[in-house]
């Protein structure tokens, strides 16, 4: 049994100091140790995107990282999108445009879209589709998700 390693990680602005086994995946650390269950486990091999979170403002697959690797980093999960009860423009847009049904893939899509829209808001539909192609949805057929991201981009652009 390998010894536990101390890590310090900031998630949604709050800093946590914990001990983790090296084999603990970041997604499991978030869900089990920090009780932030908004991030989901789908395929465990990086394809479905439901584990996507932001690390230092960039989208990463938390199922393909070990918790120890997040030491000293700033993470953002879906729980951190709304501020003081006010929904993030992406969350508003998904709500308005019916961008979700069962909601399992939604946190992953939100964080991927968050990375996308924080680095620009002027995208064609094709560019949005390509950017979202790493997230799988079994319910919606994607059209409403694409529209949600387009509406969110507009909201963010208008400020």
């Amino acid at each position: 049994m390998s010894k536990r390693i101390p890590i310090s990680v900031t998630v949604n602005g709050e800093t946590y100091e914990e001990y983790v086994q090296p084999r603990k995946l970041l997604v499991d650390f978030l869900r089990e140790d920090l009780r932030l269950t908004g991030t989901h486990v789908g395929c465990e091999h990086g394809i479905c995107g439901s584990c996507t979170i932001l690390m230092n403002d960039e989208a990463v697959r938390s199922c393909l990282m070990f918790a120890v690797q997040a030491n000293g980093t700033e993470l953002r999960t879906v729980e951190g999108l709304s501020k003081q009860g006010k929904l993030h423009p992406l969350q508003e847009a998904f709500q308005e445009q019916f961008g979700l049904q069962c909601g399992f893939c939604t946190p992953g899509f939100l964080m991927t879209a968050c990375d996308l829209l924080e680095h620009g808001q002027d995208y064609t539909e094709e560019e949005i589709r390509v950017a979202l192609s790493g997230n799988l949805c079994r319910c919606t057929g994607y059209q409403s998700i694409v529209e949600s991201v387009q509406v969110a981009a507009e909201k963010i652009r208008k400020g």
Binding site: P22, L25, G46, E58, R61, T112, D115
Partner: protein, 296 residues
């Protein structure tokens, strides 16, 4: 499933990393981006008892220009390449190809060194390295060695790297201003492993005749290959549509792919040819438009 237990080390220098590999031998595995390794560990296909995480070796993340080459540190992320104006200016093929790797989240973590040493037969970077006659630098207890892509790739997922060595740098030439390039690949969905892919580079003279042609094919062999017959055919010729189609046809006869669950051998041969023609068309267009811009 979750990975099997392992001892974890995060060295901050290359020497430390090499010493750890020496100490733990066959049981140790380098963790770079983890985008290929961790899925295998999650499935327990790979069960290292010791992981040497090289992501803390800050010295290995860089993109430097020196003379006519680009020197890229092994843990430079794909995402760093796709957002680098230096890469965009110096090597458009690399700039275009890296954007085809997986998805954004994969590119945030995946590394240049990791991808090349993983040597997936359908990967983009090994093909780009082949097209550009790039090199790789390996460091081990006996010192460092720089080897060309031809000597690096052995077969599927296998390079000549020793268990006690790590890759610390990739070296690729800058593309001349008279060059055009393109990377064409076929995937069932965007971001999937390629069924086949072609990296093309064309250089022409003032009379629009081809003076150099590079065609590297991925997905049709255990390693990336150069379609030398088609390349020699193109040199000295005017790059008309007929010529490009003939080059594509030559590639389709030159490659010897196998059938598998994703495609038959015949289909891969056809793909290699069709993608070659498409890649060459875009490479030629680029070449001509860059020439027009220079002449303005």
């Amino acid at each position: 499933m979750k990975p099997v237990s392992f001892d974890y080390f995060a060295p901050t220098t290359v020497n430390e990393a090499v010493a750890l590999l020496e100490e733990h031998g066959d049981d140790a595995k380098i963790l770079a981006g983890g985008q290929s390794l961790v899925p295998m560990m999650n499935f327990r296909l790979v069960r290292p008892t010791c992981l040497v995480d090289i992501n803390q070796i800050r010295d290995l993340a860089y993109i430097h220009e020196k003379d006519d080459r680009l020197h890229i540190g092994a843990i430079t992320r794909h995402r760093d390449l796709e957002t680098s104006t230096l890469v965009q200016q110096c090597n458009g093929l690399l700039f275009e190809g890296v954007q085809l790797i997986g998805h954004t989240a994969i590119r945030t973590r995946g590394t240049v060194g990791g991808s090349i040493i993983h040597a997936d037969p359908t990967a983009e970077l090994p093909a780009i390295l082949a097209a550009l006659d790039g090199e790789v630098r390996l460091i081990g207890p006996k010192g460092q060695r720089t080897i060309s892509w031809r000597d690096l790739f052995v077969t599927f997922f296998t390079t000549v790297i020793e268990p006690v060595e790590i890759c610390d740098e990739i070296i690729i030439p800058k593309l001349p201003s008279s060059a055009g390039w393109a990377f064409e690949e076929f995937t069932r969905r965007h971001g999937d492993f390629a069924v086949a892919g072609v990296a093309a580079v064309i250089v022409t003279d003032n009379n629009d005749r081809c003076t150099d042609a590079r065609l590297a094919i991925t997905g049709t062999a255990p390693t990336p290959i150069r379609a030398t017959q088609a390349e020699s055919f193109l040199v000295g010729k005017s790059l008309t549509q007929t010529t490009l189609e003939e080059a594509g046809r030559l590639v389709s006869t030159e490659v010897e792919p196998e059938s598998d669950v994703h495609a038959t051998a015949n289909y891969r041969q056809h793909l290699a040819g069709a993608l070659t023609t498409r890649a060459l068309q875009r490479a030629v267009e680029r070449c001509l438009s860059r020439k027009d811009q220079r002449e303005k």
